[in-house]
């Protein structure tokens, strides 16, 4: 008999007992451990997902803030650039204005300096020219020249005519004091007599004369009577020349000078029409102008 029923029952009991024991000691603990681990893993995965979502959220927020920051930075940069540009333009304008002012000031100073220098040089040149001229003519003034001047004066007196002659004659007649004949050197008697004769003949009267020497005349003779004056002297020429040069210089300085101021001194050359005007207060005596003024000027120039 292959089947022993007692053994069958015993084995069935054994098997059921084994099932119970295995459930208790194997399946339940193992399954519980697996479940716990799965829960742990699920928890960790959930945590990871939560952290990931939080990280995603924070990243989104960070990106948003970053974008806002970029936007603000760009706006600030644009604003700063505009302000810098405005400031640059303002500073450039201010610098340009300051440079213009400085340039104008400098130009003014330059012009003023140039003007002053020019004036000084002009005055110096003028002084020197006249001093040299005066000295040269003084050196040249000799008795012979005085004699020649006397002749010229004599001829002038005789050639007087018109209103000038009348005015002088009137003055001589009204003058109670003797008319004054001034000369650089003491006139010789012959010449004095010639002058007396010329006056007496010209005005048909006996005119009283008083002779004086005046070195200031440089070289020349002049007659003064009751405010009227007739004469010929190099000093008159020089005064007329000096006056003309002064007028010319003043006329040049009056208009606004241009920046290219020439500092080089230009000797004021008296024009022939202006230079020889004698400084005679008697306007009524145009004939008193000396004829040989170019010669005198030439003589002065040559003397230097």
């Amino acid at each position: 008999m292959l089947i022993d029923w007692f053994t069958v029952g015993a084995q069935a009991l054994n098997f059921l007992l084994l099932v119970w024991l295995m459930k208790r000691y194997l399946y339940k603990p193992i399954l519980n451990a697996i479940d716990a681990r799965e829960k742990l893993i699920a928890q960790e995965l959930a945590d990871a997902a939560t952290k990931q979502s939080e990280a995603q959220k924070e990243r989104d927020e960070f990106q948003k803030k970053n974008a806002e920051f970029d936007h603000q930075r760009a706006a600030l940069l644009t604003k700063a650039a505009e302000e810098a540009k405005t400031e640059q333009l303002r500073l450039l304008e201010a610098a340009r204005q300051a440079a213009d002012a400085l340039a104008a000031q400098r130009r003014e100073a330059l012009i003023s300096d140039a003007r002053n220098l020019n004036q000084a040089l002009t005055q110096l040149a003028q002084r020197e020219v006249f001093a040299i001229t005066r000295k040269a003519l003084t050196d040249l003034a000799t008795t012979t020249l005085e004699e020649r001047m006397g002749e010229v004066f004599d001829r002038r007196l005789r050639e007087l005519s018109g209103p000038a002659k009348n005015a002088l004659g009137e003055a001589l007649r009204k003058n109670s004091n003797p008319a004054v004949i001034r000369s650089t050197f003491d006139l010789p008697d012959v010449q004095r007599a010639a002058i007396q004769n010329a006056l007496n003949e010209t005005f048909s009267a006996d005119i009283h004369l008083r002779f004086e020497t005046a070195p200031i005349l440089v070289s020349g003779i002049e007659l003064t009577a009751n405010g009227q004056k007739v004469g010929w002297s190099i000093a008159d020429y020089l005064k007329a020349l000096e006056k003309g040069v002064d007028e010319l210089l003043q006329a040049q300085e009056r208009p606004a000078p241009k920046p290219e101021v020439k500092v080089a001194p230009q000797p004021a050359k008296p024009r022939p029409a202006e230079a020889p005007t004698p400084a005679t207060p008697a306007k009524s005596e145009p004939e008193a102008k000396p004829a040989p003024e170019p010669a005198a000027a030439k003589a002065g120039t040559k003397a230097t």
Partner: protein
């Protein structure tokens, strides 16, 4: 020469007897229970675990997956019965490499007891799942005429379970014993390895068939009120 370990009697008193089948079964039970107890004594629930725990988890998970694959919805409910069935039969076959050991599954009494357990477990789980009426009604499916055939099928498959496992295990041990007398040394080793393989295959077949029977018994039949799926 004895065909079964039932004939190896250690103690006898009237109807009660202590034969080799029971003793070897106790030995296997002791190994299984003590081993499980030792391994599950310090179970780790975190990610680091011991190799033995890994082995047990692989086995339990494998059994659970097989049960699930068969079609049982809640494998943890059946793993106690089906898993123990597999582990017992497999361990009984694996231990044949131990000299002097004889598998208790080589005894028709043991395989008949296991088949009887399956025979009882199938209606047990079937009734638990779908009620007594539902389970009994399944014998009349598809028609009432099939009732006797279903009952015969129930009985015959239980008999088949018992005889199949017994025949395989007993023949394996028998062949090895015969070969040992004819050609010692080399050839019995190959046959032993082959016996290990057939033992494991039988354990798998036995437990899978039991799972299939239980699955068939617990599967709810569609009620007529249910609308037919649109085709």
């Amino acid at each position: 020469m004895r065909l079964s370990t039932d004939q190896l009697i250690f103690w006898h008193h009237g109807f009660f007897k202590l034969n080799g089948t029971i003793v070897f079964t106790w030995g296997l039970m002791l190994v299984l229970v003590v081993g499980s107890k030792l391994i599950t004594r310090r179970l780790s629930t975190d990610l680091n675990r011991s190799p033995w725990q890994n082995l047990l988890e692989i086995v339990v998970n494998g059994v659970e997956k097989q049960i699930s694959d068969v079609g049982l919805k809640r494998p943890e409910k059946y793993i106690g019965f089906l898993g123990t069935l597999f582990l017992f039969v497999a361990l009984a076959a694996l231990c044949t490499v131990i000299p002097g050991y004889e598998p208790p599954t080589g005894s028709l009494s043991t395989t008949a007891a296991l088949a009887l357990c399956v025979f009882v477990a199938v209606p047990w789980f079937g009734i638990a799942e779908q009620g007594l009426g539902g389970y009994l009604a399944s014998y009349t499916k598809p028609t009432l005429i099939m009732l006797p055939f279903n009952i015969i099928s129930e009985l015959s498959r239980t008999l088949a379970l018992a005889v199949r496992l017994f025949g395989n295990m007993m023949s394996g041990a028998m062949i090895i014993a015969i070969l040992l007398t004819i050609t010692p040394f080399f050839f019995p080793i190959i046959m032993t390895l082959l016996g290990l393989l057939t033992g494991l295959v039988q354990a798998y077949i036995f437990s899978i068939l039991a799972a299939v029977y239980i699955a068939a018994a617990t599967r709810r039949t569609k009620s007529k009120a249910d609308p037919a799926p649109a085709t």
